[in-house]
């Protein structure tokens, strides 16, 4: 398996006090395989490889640690640099806008976030501003009703901004308002315009990009377009209970210069947890 070949390459460096170029080259090749198989962006993998090679060979071996530990530390540092940044948010009254590709898990995650804030003692409500998908509001309403959280939606209303406007009025007594939106992608100009308008009207405290853990190389361009349109300040990676490694999330974080706020790891309303960089990185490496 990949993690075994990476471990073997690491073993070759073990016990050495001088880092030889061949061993580093072999390690970086195995690392590339692991990262590419985990959906990390091709160009990003190449940049990381250069960085890791250069640092491994140029940096002086710190006293008391061997070559293997030194290179391993560099690999971890470089990866933590990419995903380690904390996406800040606080437990105060706020408005959160959910955005992302079709089927990424926005509606389900909106329900999970309602549960999260409710457990923290806040009054929370959800607005179903998905004016397109059949049964979208029925889905959100069902999730919210299960946990006794108010929701607003209007399946007959085609104007997403109007749904938000009416929703804010209907939910004026809650502290945290979470707005679910229809799925959309970078090539749908009219839908990108729509979420730009919703964002401008709502003026949310946070704009979170919901991405599927299995999203491949498309992650970079998609995250970029969403970021240009509404200024994403956090990423939620869903479906991490599957077998996907979430490498696309690295691109999403890099393009939005933000961090991973939450991880979705199941279909039930409680399957939401705060992001743990170390767990994420070891899963990424195979």
């Amino acid at each position: 398996t990949l993690s075994n070949s990476l471990k073997d390459a690491m073993k070759k460096l073990a016990g050495k006090t001088v880092i030889d170029r061949a061993a580093v080259d072999e390690l970086v090749r195995d690392l590339q395989r692991a990262l590419l198989s985990s959906d990390v962006n091709v160009k990003l993998v190449m940049e990381l490889s250069k960085q890791i090679k250069a640092r491994s060979l140029d940096e002086n071996l710190p006293k008391g640690i061997n070559a293997r530990e030194h290179v391993l530390r560099i690999v971890y540092q470089e990866l933590v640099n990419l995903v380690g940044k904390e996406a800040e948010f606080s437990l105060k009254p706020q408005k959160i806008l959910m955005a992302g590709l079709q089927g990424s898990g926005k509606t389900t995650t909106t329900g999970k976030l309602c549960r999260y804030f409710q457990r923290k003692g806040l009054k929370v409500g959800a607005i179903g501003a998905d004016n397109f998908r059949p049964g979208a509001y029925a889905q959100l309403e069902t999730l919210c009703k299960k946990i006794n959280v108010p929701s607003y939606g209007d399946p007959k209303e085609k104007d997403a901004v109007k749904i938000v406007k009416d929703g804010l009025a209907a939910l004026k007594d809650v502290d945290v308002v979470i707005v679910d939106t229809a799925g959309r992608h970078a090539l749908e100009d009219d839908l990108i315009d729509e979420i730009t308008e919703v964002n401008a009207y709502l003026k949310p405290d946070h704009r979170w990009l919901v991405i599927d853990a299995a999203l491949g190389q498309a992650a970079r361009d998609q995250a970029k377009r969403f970021h240009e349109a509404i200024g994403i300040d956090g990423v939620i990676v869903t479906k991490m209970d599957g077998t996907a490694k979430g490498g696309g999330a690295m691109s999403a974080v890099a393009e939005t210069q933000s961090g991973i706020v939450f991880i979705g790891n199941g279909e039930t309303i409680d399957d939401l947890e705060r992001f743990d960089p170390n767990g994420f990185i070891s899963r990424l490496l195979g």
């Binding site: 198989s37 959100l140 996907a244």
Partner: protein, 278 residues
């Protein structure tokens, strides 16, 4: 000119990059390039051809072979005892329900009668979603209440089709992950009870390396007959088509190219190849 490994090494590396950046899964891109190296080393190239041309041409042909010729669903149905029963399956959010609606619409437009079975009795809003689609399209839907046994719903759908001499049964099912033993067992039970003629596996063009893992697992559990690749409009290079076709060797039946009822194209290899090779 006899091609040596040295001649084509750089071109092969470039092309492996093209595949990876088109979102072909890493092990598949590697396997295809390795296979091509074996095929090409020792062969002859014409004076006017560059190593690059030879390699690009060979890759194009290799991909064509992997992708296959598609699957003529309408002919299959017309030549088969009715009702033809088709079960749709796949992981969460890939576009199964929407694909069922689009294909129902497509088959109806080809003069066939269709009944849809609301086999997702689990997810919030699932029955409402397929109900709205079927109402809009004027398609008969068989559904029970949320929480009902999916096998029972789909059994009833087949019984309805037999009683009404309907041509096709399209059975939707809940999204499920391949690493959930209880859900994969439930899928096996659905298949035993419903006895579909065809099992269509639905995945999305934007899925990366996991597309290989999950296609393998679903193939092992329910042995699929065809693949529907959705959201190709999101990721026109559609590398996942190559990853999946390579991994399970089953035909691609349709490509989903949008959210409208007409956004479902019967698969032809050029749809993917022209996007990758430009």
């Amino acid at each position: 000119f006899v091609l040596s490994e040295k001649d084509i090494e750089e071109s092969l590396f470039e092309l492996q990059m093209v595949l990876l950046e088109s979102d072909v899964a890493y092990p598949v891109a590697e396997a295809i390039t390795e296979h091509m190296k074996k095929e090409l080393v020792g062969t002859h190239r014409k004076l006017r051809e560059s190593a690059d041309d030879v390699v690009t041409d060979a890759l194009r042909h290799a991909i064509e072979k992997v992708l296959g010729e598609g699957f003529d669903l309408v002919s299959y149905i017309k030549n088969h005892e009715k009702p033809v029963k088709i079960l749709f399956t796949g992981v969460n959010g890939t576009g199964k329900t929407t694909s069922v609606a689009k294909i129902a619409h497509y088959l109806q437009s080809q003069g066939l009668s269709v009944v849809v079975g609301a086999g997702d009795t689990f997810r919030a809003g699932a029955i409402e979603q397929i109900r709205v689609h079927c109402e809009r399209l004027g398609i008969k839907l068989i559904a029970h209440q949320e929480g009902a046994d999916p096998s029972a719903v789909l059994y009833d759908t087949v019984e309805y089709a037999k009683a009404h001499k309907t041509d096709v049964v399209l059975a939707d099912s809940a999204g499920r992950f391949h690493n959930r033993v209880n859900l994969m067992n439930q899928l096996e039970k659905i298949k035993r009870v419903m006895k579909p003629d065809l099992v269509f596996y639905v995945d999305e063009a934007v899925a990366g390396n996991d597309a290989v893992i999950r296609a393998e697992e679903f193939e092992k559990t329910v042995s699929t007959d065809g693949v529907i690749l959705t959201k190709v409009d999101m990721d026109p290079k559609g590398g996942a088509a190559i990853s999946i076709a390579y991994t399970i060797g089953k035909p691609l039946v349709f490509l989903g190219v949008g959210q409208g009822y007409d956004d479902m194209k019967p698969f032809t290899p050029s749809l993917i190849i022209d996007e990758i090779f430009g």
